[in-house]
């Protein structure tokens, strides 16, 4: 399915994932964590970074090509 709109949506999603990853790493977000007192939630941060990369890869697949 090729669509520039979908590709842009996936890039926006990647940015959201990066922000969420940063917030988890800084301990600002405490949703669904095993230890709410931990200063950093590294596992969650890594997960959202991976999701951001996956979204960018998906965006590259989704974009329409001119050639």
């Amino acid at each position: 399915m090729k669509s520039n709109t979908l590709a842009i949506g996936l890039v926006v999603l990647a940015v959201i994932f990066v922000v969420l990853g940063g917030l988890y790493y800084e301990g600002v977000l405490q949703i669904a964590v095993s230890d709410p007192h931990a200063a950093h939630h590294t596992t969650h941060a890594i997960l959202f970074t991976v999701l951001a990369v996956a979204s960018l890869v998906a965006a590259n697949f989704a974009r329409e090509r001119t050639v």
Binding site: A32, T43, H44, L47, L51, V57, N60, R65
Partner: protein
């Protein structure tokens, strides 16, 4: 935990991680049956499990080293190009598709589910359920063989009529990946649900096992690597744990080699029957020893 117990647990983990019989279920039930008193809440127990998992993941990386090099190269090539042109690039993207749901569910649910159900009775019950699932997957496969008029043919010919891992759909890969979350329940086998799911998706048994093992590698490795900092705690008897991890890796390597050969013509039935029998026997023993 004594050295003997650590080595036994390493062997058990390595052998049962890849067989469709639930390593977690066995590692919950067996110490309880032997009345081993080591506490799973001990701060050194998590690093122990981490090393055992790294041993298993290391064995899978060694077993599939050439394929992993090709898969990683294929992933980056396809990701940059934005198009899949070769079977190995497709396999790389399928593995990514399958790993993401497992990673999300693992990060958000694993510790809660494991702590909720970490009782030998529950594990024994789920071991029976795992056996029924394996038999169910094989029933679905036999139905597919009958539909394709393959039931009268020799096993090798039946198997050749089904697909290779690269032919699986992306939706099926995502569903199979998400099914790995069922293995957070002690007694349900990660390889069992992924091999079974891949069979239902139309793969031959050997390819289903290969896809399951490839899919397990990033999940097991990722879960292990994230916990590595815990290994640097001064109370961890690193020498004993490394010996257990080595044993776990050797057992996993031997298990994977055996299973890949077995699944050329073998089915999941014996493992299903084993799980039902072992689960039922464990329930009886645990009830009388309680």
């Amino acid at each position: 935990m004594t050295l003997g117990q650590a080595l036994f647990m390493g062997l058990l983990q390595g052998a049962t991680e890849l067989f469709p019989v639930s390593s977690l279920g066995h590692s919950v039930i067996i110490p309880s049956l032997f009345h081993w008193q080591f506490k799973q809440s001990d701060p050194t127990f998590v690093p122990f499990l981490v090393l055992l998992h790294l041993g298993t993941a290391g064995a899978l990386l060694v077993l599939y080293r050439d394929q992993w090099i090709a898969i990683i190269r294929g992933f980056f090539t396809a990701a940059v190009r934005g198009r899949i042109t070769t079977p190995v690039e497709r396999l790389a993207m399928l593995l990514m598709t399958g790993t993401i749901p497992a990673a999300i569910l693992g990060v958000f649910l694993e510790s809660r589910i494991k702590s909720l159900f970490a009782s030998p009775f529950v594990a024994a019950g789920f071991l029976v359920v795992n056996g029924l699932l394996l038999l169910g997957f094989e029933q679905l496969r036999r139905r597919a063989e009958r539909r394709a008029a393959l039931d009268a043919k020799p096993r090798e010919e039946q198997e050749e009529s089904f697909a290779q891992a690269e032919r699986i759909s992306f939706r099926a890969a995502a569903v199979i990946g998400a099914c790995q979350a069922l293995a957070f329940l002690p007694g349900i086998s990660r390889s069992g649900v992924t091999i079974g799911g891949a069979l239902v998706a139309g793969l031959r048994h050997q390819e289903a096992a290969r896809f399951s093992f490839l899919l397990a590698t990033p999940t097991i490795l990722g879960a292990g690597v994230i916990e590595v900092p815990q290994l640097f705690s001064s109370r961890v008897p690193i020498g004993e744990y490394l010996a257990a991890a080595l044993l776990s890796g050797l057992a996993a390597y031997a298990s994977a080699r055996f299973l890949l050969r077995y699944f050329r013509s073998g089915r999941l039935d014996p493992y299903g029957l084993y799980c039902i029998g072992a689960g039922a026997l464990s329930l009886v023993l645990l009830t009388f020893r309680a």
